[in-house]
């Protein structure tokens, strides 16, 4: 298919579905579900098509689409895909599709739910595919609103609180990003390429032909900090994470799946696509903070998870813990003080690849974990860890699948969680032995809270909570979702090369360009000092 059409179709097909749903009778629930599911499946097929057309080994952007949008402000409709965004796009459409299947459990206002759901998918895919900073920002915000309503209307008892908390946090992040965006725009002269992420990145590395003026090293630091906070909120990293447990706990199951499976990845993606290439010097400057925050998030999230009694909250904190690895992997950039060159750049490359893998892996495993929590919640309507037990006997198949997905989250080899974590940790010693050791100790805590939770829920002699009579074996629909996720977890865990092959050219190019960018900024600083 023509790339212009394909990329736009991937983004806007769900929106089209939402439009179609708007004209349907709101009482025709099964048709609404079928149409919504149909559109998500179609989108998934399109992303697979995209994968088919993707050329391995090319470092740059592929299937570029450039159309004028708001010429007065130099805003363009720029789309493209590379090895970094492609896996995330596929993950998004996959998780959304599965979440659509999981949405059968939604029991009110189906029409509105699915319309918002599909709009959300459009926003997410748009963020991953857009290459124009403004367009990126627009899609970023487009995502926000449906999510707000999905939590606020279809959520649990404290849904309004959670929704507003989520909304405010993300909005603050968006505002910080907006400031940074304008910094870049005006510092690069406000020309036609001033919103072009690719050219801005090239300009930072000093290889751009169209943009010559860039941020000074000090401004780069400011811009990076702004962008980083914006993305760290989404990630979520340690001091900005408190929206996550509330949002997850209150959101309905499929929305939790999307939140954990896709939305958190936007933070990591933003760092790797925007913050890093656009301000390499700032990135290096803040690298220690990045890794430090990542390590702290791992330990803190794991400890917090250990103390939870709400099943879903535990899984939510496990997300905080797991996403810490992403920050570590991205940040392990060490520059020799004497040489000014990167020490062991391959280690950093490995860290970035590991971080990317961790994002995908976490997308699969945490979506699975949330779904598994949702399955049992649909039956017994509570999530108190101390009131479960004995599910292994009552729902053996469900428990088996859940065990698989939880093991994936625990980082068991052969399942997806392992590869990302271990590669990140392996790359960390080169950067800082202390932080690496602390990060590695996370394996103990992770095992602790996951196994303890599994023991309380699945093992034991009998079920201890209310609604014991409602515990029925897993049904076909739930089985499909869970087994697809588990299958992906196994495939990714056994053949991680599938992902690494896809992204290694792009990540390699990123590492190279950032090193160039750092050297350029360092040269500027030296000149300044020489002048003084």
């Amino acid at each position: 298919m023509n790339p212009d059409v394909l990329l736009s179709a991937i983004i806007f097909l769900p929106a089209l579905g939402a439009l179609l749903l708007a004209f349907m009778d709101s009482r025709a629930v099964s048709q609404i579900r079928a149409v919504a599911l149909g559109f998500t499946v179609a989108t998934f097929v399109l992303t697979l098509l995209l994968w088919g057309q993707f050329k391995y080994g090319e470092a740059g952007m592929q299937m570029l689409v450039v159309k004028e949008w708001i010429p007065t402000w130099n805003v363009f409709y720029r789309l493209g895909v590379d090895g970094i965004s492609l896996p995330l796009v596929i993950l998004t459409s996959l998780v959304t599709m599965l979440a659509a299947v999981a949405s059968w459990s939604i029991n009110k206002q189906h029409k509105g739910y699915f319309i918002l759901f599909l709009l959300l998918e459009t926003g997410m895919l748009g963020v991953f595919l857009s290459l124009d900073f403004f367009l990126f920002f627009v899609f970023w915000e487009v995502m926000l609103l449906p999510m707000y309503f999905l939590i606020g209307v279809w959520g649990g008892p404290r849904r309004e609180y959670a929704a507003i908390k989520f909304f405010l946090y993300t909005l603050i992040g968006g505002v910080l990003m907006l400031i940074a965006m304008l910094m870049f725009y005006f510092n690069s002269g406000g020309t036609t390429d001033s919103f072009n992420l690719i050219e801005l990145a090239k300009a930072a590395a000093g290889t751009s032909e169209t943009l010559t003026s860039t941020l000074s090293p000090n401004l780069q630091i400011t811009a990076f900090v702004l962008l980083f906070i914006g993305f760290a909120i989404k990630l979520p990293a340690f001091p900005f994470h408190t929206w996550l447990p509330d949002a997850h706990v209150e959101a309905p199951t499929p929305i939790s799946m999307i939140l954990a499976g896709v939305l958190l990845k936007l933070g990591g993606y933003g760092i790797i696509r925007v913050a890093f290439p656009l301000c390499p010097y700032g990135a290096y400057y803040a690298a220690y903070a990045l890794v430090g925050i990542g390590v702290f998030s791992i330990i803190y999230g794991a400890f917090a998870a250990l103390a939870q009694t709400d099943f879903k909250r535990l899984v939510a904190y496990s997300s905080v813990s797991h996403m810490g690895y992403v920050l570590i992997g991205l940040g392990v950039w060490k520059i020799g003080e004497a040489t000014g060159k990167t020490v062991n750049p391959d280690m950093w490359l490995m860290g970035i690849n590991g971080a990317m893998f961790q994002m995908i892996a976490h997308g699969v495993s945490s979506a699975g974990m949330f779904f598994m929590v949702g399955v049992i919640y649909d039956r017994v309507h509570h999530r108190d860890l101390n009131q479960f037990g004995g599910l292994m006997g009552r729902m053996p198949l469900y428990s088996g699948l859940a065990a698989g997905l939880f093991f994936a989250g625990l980082g068991l080899p052969g399942l997806c969680g392992f590869i990302g974590e271990i590669f990140v940790v392996l790359s960390a010693w080169n950067y800082s032995p202390t932080l690496a050791i602390v990060a590695a100790s996370g394996v103990i805590l992770t095992a602790g809270y996951i196994l303890w939770a599994m023991q309380r829920v699945y093992m034991g002699s009998e079920y201890k909570g209310p609604h014991s009579e409602d515990i029925t074996p897993i049904n076909g629909r739930e089985l499909t979702v869970a087994s697809v996720l588990l299958a992906f977890a196994i495939i990714l865990g056994v053949f991680p090369g599938i992902l690494f092959d896809m992204m290694q050219s792009s990540t390699g190019a990123l590492v190279d360009s950032m090193q160039l960018g750092y050297e350029k900024a360092a040269a500027t600083l030296n000149e300044l000092q020489a002048m003084r």
Binding site: H241, T242, F303, P413, L426, A428, I437, A440
Partner: protein, 791 residues
């Protein structure tokens, strides 16, 4: 070429159990009659049995390819070896039987093969792969694991047969109302997990790099978790499963640190060099560190850093021309890190507490996972990674092993649960192996690993048979006098007990444990002679050899002889069916004879065929730590002496056990009362569980609670107060808005209105007046104009 063939056969042996797992778990669940069919069990037995045949075949191919040079060379130096009696001793030798020994003088060719199975990820020059590394140790381990696993699978068909029901009553699991748990049987699931375990264990052995070892390390861990927690309804079982996994993770944390250092400084995980057409294509770790002729690592003169070399011993350089090197202390960290993993897996001090609890799993699991294979994997890894260990690490290993073997043996003396006795004995024996490796008796440690695997799995199966025959009664105080109720079990168990005690029998029919334990004690003695400061490393194992014999015979006497202590148990006891006794007999044969010939026997020679190069000569020059390590000759010299001491210790231990438990000369209960303090201390396992609970578990939960509290109380409070502040500000804003801003607007409005009202009167509505006003206005305007701008 040979490497490819070996890889082919071993891969089959490795992957068949995985296929078996998939079939069993799905077939078991979806088959028509999952609760009554033994098909899953036969499938599992088939898979692992074929795996055994493949391994044996691979061993044969390997031997043929290098003309059994391992054995030939050895025969020249050990004249008293006797190949004529070798047939029944070891499976490898069966293949040997058809072989012609004409090529005895040929030099030792290539015996280790390694290569890539597939790539996990490539990052610039870094490459993470799944490799295979096949040498004599791999092959012996493969054969041993598959053989024992086959026997145990067979045994388990009988042992687990009461799971073949729709309504299994678990007497150990209680519901809230005091009843027993009723559940469907889970026969197929057990065998599926067992198959998965076999896959993971074989993968661990086949692994060609340390990272891959870590992968399968974790996988065997999770299989162990699943199998320990097989009776998920029992709280004790799930607790034990968690404990096992988490304590292993503590060890793996160290393992991971070792991996990180290796990866950062060496950039590879491979063990050996990958050789294609006599060219080294990928250099492995073992050739990256070079040892000089004293057996020490080549180090940089001033900094003392260890130099990293290529296969020929030339120092590799970085891009900027400096030498590639790793600080010496990091070599210690690597060694200790990897060893930490071994400590966790092999239940060494201080992570030993999980293994006794792991006995909650079904007995075949204890036999396979927690005695013969998985727990021995730690020793295997220590042996495999031996070339990278420096003296400090070896000393740590030795002391860890020494502490462990004594600790566990003392606890075993007072344990009453038959499986717990065996579990502590396992820990103790693993300590022996570690000690052997630590005192440079590389071959001795691994030798004991193999022999121990046979006799300990045998004893576990025997205990399983007893438990099965006594209807799941595990407490020895309730047994007694079972000798003629279940004779096969009793006598095979006696073989195991003698083997572990290391009894000598004339005419070369010594029990296998005699050879292997002798080797370890000899190494320790040689080490003691070389480093007199570390005399405890010899004395304690020697003493413990006596304790071992004591508690083992205590167990045997307790169980099988004397008067029946529980009439009910005794009356219902019966011998197990053939499917359980046949494996016992097979294993008993191996437990007795597998080490036939001792250090000139086939097994030992096979095992040491690919011994690390520097082991034979020892480390002759002391380094800063002052440790000198004995070579082969030094060990050989003290062999007879050590063997005698060990035998005396074992015999006296057995004698004391007979006096105490075999006869009624001494009242044991009375003794127990008199030594209540010691007994209680030992029975409470030296209070390690309480200690760890207070040291780690409680603080961890405290910290966790703090983190959770912190989130709610600090972050959310900040957030909420920010929100409240916003609300207050907005309230004030409202007041301001309503009073000031609105007031101003209202003022303007009312002023306008009053002006309008006052001007209203002018608005008469009368046309003519308007005209007048206009005219007046014009006139006035002009008048003003003329007066203001005259002229």
């Amino acid at each position: 070429m040979v490497g490819e063939t070996l890889k082919f056969w071993l891969m089959i042996a490795w992957l068949l159990p995985l296929a078996g797992f998939v079939v069993e778990i799905f077939f078991g669940f979806y088959s028509k009659n999952p609760r009554h069919s033994k098909a899953a069990a036969w499938c599992a037995v088939g898979c692992i049995g074929i795996g055994f045949l493949c391994s044996a075949n691979a061993l044969r191919i390997w031997g043929n390819a290098n003309d059994w040079c391992v054995l030939e060379v050895a025969e020249h130096s050990n004249a008293h070896a006797d190949p004529a009696h070798s047939e029944e001793t070891h499976d490898a030798d069966k293949a040997l039987a058809d072989h012609d020994h004409s090529d005895a003088d040929s030099a030792k060719g290539q015996t280790a093969y390694s290569g890539v199975i597939y790539t996990l990820g490539v990052f610039g020059s870094l490459e993470v792969t799944l490799d295979y590394y096949i040498d004599s140790l791999t092959l012996v381990m493969f054969t041993m694991v598959t053989l024992i696993a086959t026997c145990i699978h067979l045994f388990a068909i009988g042992y687990m047969s009461d799971e073949l029901t729709d309504e299994y009553v678990d007497h150990s699991a209680h519901t809230a109302d005091g009843g027993h748990v009723h559940r469907p049987g889970r026969f197929y699931r057990f065998f599926a997990f067992m198959s998965l375990f076999c896959f993971a264990m074989l993968g661990l052995v086949l692994a060609g790099n340390i990272f891959q070892v870590f992968i399968f390390w974790e996988l065997v861990g999770i299989c162990s978790f699943l199998l320990i927690g097989f009776y998920t309804e029992r709280k004790t079982a799930s607790d034990a499963a968690n404990k096992a996994f988490i304590m292993n993770r503590v060890g793996d944390f160290g393992f991971l640190i070792g991996l990180m250092v290796l990866w950062t400084f060496f950039g590879t995980f491979r063990f050996g060099d990958t050789v294609v057409d006599d060219q080294v294509v990928d250099q492995g770790l073992f050739s990256m560190v070079h040892r000089d002729n004293t057996g020490n690592l080549t180090r940089e003169e001033f900094t003392g850093d260890v130099l990293i070399t290529d296969t020929h011993g030339h120092v590799l350089t970085n891009e900027d021309g400096s030498n590639r090197q790793i600080p010496y202390y990091l070599m210690v960290v690597v060694g200790l890190g990897i060893f930490a993993g071994c400590v966790g897996k092999s239940a060494q001090f201080p992570l030993q507490t999980w293994l006794p609890d792991a006995m909650e799993g079904p007995t075949p699991v204890s036999a396979l996972v927690h005695s013969a294979t998985m727990v021995a994997a730690g020793v295997y890894l220590a042996g495999r990674f031996f070339p990278m260990f420096v003296q400090e690490v070896l000393l740590t290993i030795a002391y860890t092993g020494c502490i462990t073997l004594f600790l566990a043996a003392t606890i075993a003396m007072v344990a009453t649960d038959i499986k717990k006795v065996l579990a502590y004995s396992t820990i103790s024996q693993l300590g022996y192996m570690m000690l052997g490796i630590g005192v440079f008796g590389w071959a001795a440690g691994l030798f004991h690993l193999i022999t121990h695997a046979f006799f300990k799995s045998l004893m576990f199966l025997c205990s399983g048979s007893v438990i099965y025959g006594c209807h799941h009664e595990q407490e020895m105080p309730k047994m007694g006098g079972l000798l003629w109720k279940m004779p096969i079990t009793a006598f095979t168990m006696l073989v195991g007990v003698c083997a572990i005690s290391g009894f000598w029998v004339p005419f070369g029919l010594e029990f296998s444990g005699y050879h292997s334990k002798d080797a370890i004690v000899a190494s320790a003695l040689a080490f003691n002679y070389a480093n007199p400061a570390h005399f405890l490393l010899f004395l304690i194992p020697l003493l413990t050899a006596g304790i071992t014999a004591f508690y083992m015979f205590r167990m045997w006497f307790y169980t099988f002889v004397g008067k029946p202590r529980d009439q009910h148990v005794h009356e219902h006891a019966h011998e197990s069916p053939w499917v359980m006794t046949v494996p016992l007999v097979i294993l008993a044969v191996f437990a007795w004879f597998c080490a036939y010939g001792g250090e000139s026997g086939r097994l030992y020679l096979m095992l040491t065929g690919d011994e690390p190069a520097h082991v034979a000569a020892g480390v002759t020059a002391a380094t800063a730590g002052g440790i000198v390590l004995p070579g082969h000759d030094a060990i050989h010299a003290v062999h007879g002496q050590a063997g005698t001491w060990a035998l005396i210790a074992a015999l006296s231990g057995a004698l004391i056990a007979y006096v105490l438990y075999g006869t009624s000369v001494v009242n044991v209960e009375e003794m127990k009362r008199q030594l209540a303090g010691v007994h209680g201390f030992l029975a409470n396992k030296w209070h390690f569980d309480e200690l760890y609970d207070a040291l780690f578990m409680k603080p961890a939960h405290k910290v966790a609670a703090f983190c959770a509290w912190f989130d709610g109380a600090v972050f959310d409070r900040i957030l909420h107060s920010a929100a409240k502040a916003t609300v207050i500000v907005s309230k004030w804003d409202r007041v301001f808005d309503e009073n000031v801003v609105d007031g101003f607007v209202n003022l303007i409005a009312s002023a306008t209105q009053s002006v309008g009202t006052s001007l209203k009167v002018v608005q008469t509505g009368r046309l003519r007046q308007y005209v007048m006003f206009i005219v007046l206005g014009v006139v006035a305007l002009f008048a003003v104009m003329f007066t203001t701008f005259p002229g």
